[in-house]
């Protein structure tokens, strides 16, 4: 039954892609997005059945892929990722109906979104090395095409696509090498055969497999220092694709690490997981800092994805390290928290990217310095964006808080472990957790406060109009999820627990009691967000009542509107208002060693006296320091080799024939 629903979903997504490519312009958008949304619903039903019943399914189709056939299997771990993708996909499909409607939708846009969605749904169900690699590569290709959709509007898209293609294929090569090595030593290429062989692998081989696959998957997840493609690709993609990339695709990097490390290799050694945690710590800090400094709203969101993936990797690494040290209960708790945070991140980051797309469509810009005052022009978009932004800032009553609290509790109770190395990793995890919390709140106060509140900073922002209802419905679905999982986070616990039980070798499920709030079963700690929300509402009502008690009090009258205080200078303009750049300036100065901003200040003096400036221009760029330091030299060397090699082929046919002949001779020499 669950298999039927899941396969129906896959099929419908495939049909949607074909319809998107073939239908005439008029019907293209609806013809692709309606089956796409139905596909997500079907996949959600299928994966939901696996998660609720705990019974996985598997099937083998020999006819599709030559030599090996296709192996599909959905266990609770994979089902959790399919369900998350399906929810984000449903919202993105719904949103796409409105997003593409303002101009004639191109075939690329309508065909690649469902195709990308289909591959995202396929990867977690792949159950053999061959199937997995095919699905993984299809995902890379369809996402690359989807990323390139708007390359005519923005030339930067091409640059982003080059980075993405390079990084994703280097990552896929590492994964392929790792999995082939694993399959060769385990005596079978289906995941079931490999898992049956676990524990009998020699330690160096297992470690080599883990390091290779973990690096490949970490590049897909966007972990520092393999993240450089992410802050380029996610902003340049069309917004529904950005939402799918940040809300679903990066998750699969985490899925890959869990699948190989815990399921196929059976937990392995302590240092593997410390490596993962170290990647997480670096990503969380670096991502949060860049998010706080960014002024392009989609770039901000992309860096925040790096931050959140980092937190999830801290959890995954801590869980693996604790499990390797025999701490079963804290390990189960931390993994549950990490998976919960991953689901929550998909919800709020999906919603935020959809909101950023609405901003871009309404104003034509992503630059926060040119936005402002949109809460009055686009109230629903503003409200949805704000809910998601407050969720990601981990305010109590919303879902980000629930999972971050669980993660903190898991790390806290992990301190009971006997390994001082694990303790050090947990302490680093908590420290980075604490640092990113404040930075994330700053980043999102900036995004909401500068983007939606105050005065409009450009004509485009002044005349922006609210986007279509279908776009709002897509964001509303995800924002609703944020609220539900924030008020009653306990409802997600049984589902997450199934995934933990299916994943963690040497970890104990059942660390959190099922209920409405979150209550740690055998450890000490509980929260009840529903009561918190009730308390907040009650306090707000009481304070309203107290204000009304005063007979001449203004609680009774409508507030008067008046010009804001401008030091006596009226009327005020948006030019005196703070911008996103200046909002972030203090933090940027504090962390100047990491961010390394480039300033460019030019002052033109008046002819009469050099004490009176005529014009001042200020430019600032914050480049990715990792990209500059680690990738710059490599790219330089490759480019130099490329230029050298270009001297050979100059267009002369004789030379090509000669080169071909020389190559043939060389091969023959080697073979002989």
């Amino acid at each position: 039954m669950s298999a039927t629903a899941y396969l129906t979903g896959l099929g419908a997504a495939g049909i949607a892609a074909v319809l998107g490519a073939l239908l005439p312009t008029r019907w293209r958008l609806l013809g692709a997005m309606v089956p796409g949304a139905l596909a997500c619903l079907a996949a959600l039903v299928g994966s939901g059945q696996v998660l609720l019943s705990g019974r996985s399914f598997s099937l083998h189709v020999a006819q599709v892929l030559p030599f090996t056939g296709i192996d599909l299997s959905l266990d609770p771990l994979g089902a959790l990722f399919v369900a998350t993708t399906a929810i984000v996909g449903l919202a993105a499909s719904c949103y796409s109906v409105g997003y593409g409607a303002h101009r004639a939708p191109g075939r690329t846009a309508t065909a690649t979104v469902p195709a990308f969605l289909a591959t995202l749904l396929l990867v977690p169900a792949a159950a053999s090395v061959a199937t997995f690699m095919v699905a993984w590569e299809l995902m890379a290709l369809t996402s690359l095409l989807a990323l390139l959709t708007e390359h005519r509007q923005r030339p930067e898209t091409r640059d982003a696509a080059q980075w993405y293609a390079g990084m994703t294929h280097a990552g896929a090569a590492a994964v392929l090498l790792g999995l082939v090595l694993l399959a060769a030593h385990a005596g079978g290429q289906s995941f079931a055969a490999i898992a049956a062989h676990r524990g009998r692998l020699s330690a160096p081989v297992a470690s080599a497999v883990f390091v290779l696959t973990a690096l490949g998957f970490a590049s897909k997840a966007g972990a520092v220092p393999l993240h450089v493609w992410l802050p380029r690709a996610h902003p340049e993609a069309p917004s529904p694709v950005s939402a799918l990339m940040s809300g679903a695709m990066v998750n699969l990097g985490v899925y890959g690490i869990l699948r190989t490390g815990q399921d196929l290799l059976g937990g392995g050694q302590l240092w593997w997981w410390l490596l993962v945690a170290a990647l997480g710590v670096a990503s969380a800090f670096f991502g949060a800092l860049h998010a706080a400094a960014s002024t392009d709203v989609k770039r901000l969101l992309a860096y925040s994805t790096v931050d959140n993936v980092g937190l999830v990797l801290v959890g995954v690494g801590a869980a693996g390290a604790l499990a390797a040290g025999g701490e079963r209960v804290p390990a189960g708790l931390v993994l549950l928290a990490a998976l919960f945070h991953l689901v929550n991140h998909a919800l709020f980051k999906g919603c935020l990217f959809l909101g950023a797309g609405a901003l871009q469509q309404a104003t034509g810009t992503r630059d926060l310095d040119r936005l402002g005052g949109l809460a009055r022009r686009m109230p629903v978009t503003a409200a949805l964006f704000a809910v998601a932004a407050l969720s990601i800032s981990a305010l109590p009553g919303l879902n980000g808080f629930a999972s971050e609290w669980l993660l903190l509790e898991g790390l806290l109770h992990g301190f009971a472990s006997r390994s001082s190395l694990t303790d050090a990793a947990l302490l680093a995890g908590v420290a980075v957790f604490a640092v990113t919390g404040g930075l994330t709140a700053t980043a999102f106060v900036k995004a909401v406060g500068v983007g939606f509140l105050g005065r409009a900073r450009s004509e485009a922002a002044r005349s922006a109009l609210e986007v279509r209802p279908s776009m709002l419905a897509g964001g509303g679905l995800l924002a609703g999820g944020c609220v539900v999982l924030g008020v009653v986070p306990g409802v997600a616990v049984p589902v997450l627990d199934r995934a933990v039980a299916a994943t963690l070798a040497g970890g104990a499920p059942g660390a959190v009691r099922a209920g409405l709030g979150l209550d740690l079963a055998s450890l000490d700690g509980a929260i009840a967000p529903a009561l918190l929300v009730e308390g907040l509402l009650a306090a707000a009502i009481v304070s309203w009542g107290v204000l009304r008690l005063f007979p001449r009090g203004a609680g009774l009258r409508r507030p008067r509107r008046s010009e804001a205080w401008g030091c006596g200078q009226e009327p005020q303009s948006a030019r005196t208002e703070i911008t996103a750049t200046s909002f972030a300036e203090p933090l940027q100065r504090v962390f100047a060693d990491v961010l390394r901003p480039d300033h460019d200040l030019e002052v033109t003096h008046a002819d009469e006296s050099r004490y009176f400036p005529e014009a001042i221009s200020f430019h600032q760029r914050i480049d990715d320091a990792v990209e500059r330091v680690a990738y710059g030299p490599v790219i330089g060397v490759v480019a130099r080799w490329g230029r050298l090699a270009r001297r050979g082929p100059n267009g002369s046919v004789h030379r090509y024939l000669g080169l071909g002949f020389a190559a043939l001779v060389l091969i023959l020499v080697f073979l002989a």
Binding site: G373, D423, G449, G454, D524, F550, P559, S582, F583
Partner: protein, 328 residues
Amino acid sequence: MTATTATVVAGGPSAWATAAASVLQVGAVALGGPLLLGLMGKVRARAEGRTGPPVTQVLLDLRKLVRKEAVRADQASAVTALAPRLLVASAAVAAAFTPLVTTRPVVATGADAFVVVYLLLMGSVALALGGLDAGTAFGGMGSSRAMTIGAISEPALLVGVLALAVQSGTSNLPGIVDASLAHPGWLASPQRLLALAALVVVVIAETGRVPVDNPSTHLELTMVHEAMVLEQAGPDLALVTMGEAMRLGLLLGLLANLFFPWGIDASVSGPAVVVALAALGAKTAAMAVLIALVEVSTAKLRLFRVPELLAGGFVLAVVAVMTGLVAR
């Protein structure tokens, strides 16, 4: 340590008693916070050789403000109205279940230290958004500075709280207080003292006192909190002042009970509650006087020196956790 919370659930007082105790705590914070602010003003004035306004001045100001007309900026959206209410509500909810007067407040099992940390963050975020809402230069500048200071003080707060939680084996606040009552020796342990130092720095930053911020300045180069709330007027401003006073009372009370828990009531019985209330008043008043004296005797730090102070607090907190792990 699991046992401490278990007793809260099993042998605790009736639900009505704990609810009444929580209401009492909120009332104590709502009344005590403004009085503490007034006391600090009085001590500062006396130390500077002035008579100063009466201790009840803040309460009198609040009464004046709620009677005034509500005026909001042209550009202001609903956020200007929501922010002060959310600030007060978050402080009130935190006060309801923090062990201030009793270790048996309502929903004691859910009274988690990290929830208090994030409720404080909620108030800060609300105020910062409110500061940006009117679209003025001052408001945005104040929000930016407040969020910067908050972004660096929050890690110290979180890790400082974690140091206590690691020692007690739980992040449940009543559990932590119960554990320190059961093990008085812990209070003099190095990790406690380091965590205390870290949290004092945080409390000074979160309540906007000298040397981090000067609550009595309106100089554009230096003001942080005052710049952020410049556009709030009348009843809205009353709520902001109230919320800030409640946060001060809450933080001082929490600090007092985490490090000097004596006098706190553990049974929710009449006389013990009165004693606990008096003890809370005495402890927080003593801390307020100390802070006021420090304020008089130090100069405000330059904005870009503040992160160094706060980073110092963060390092102290991390060292506190490490000391605890080594000592175990």
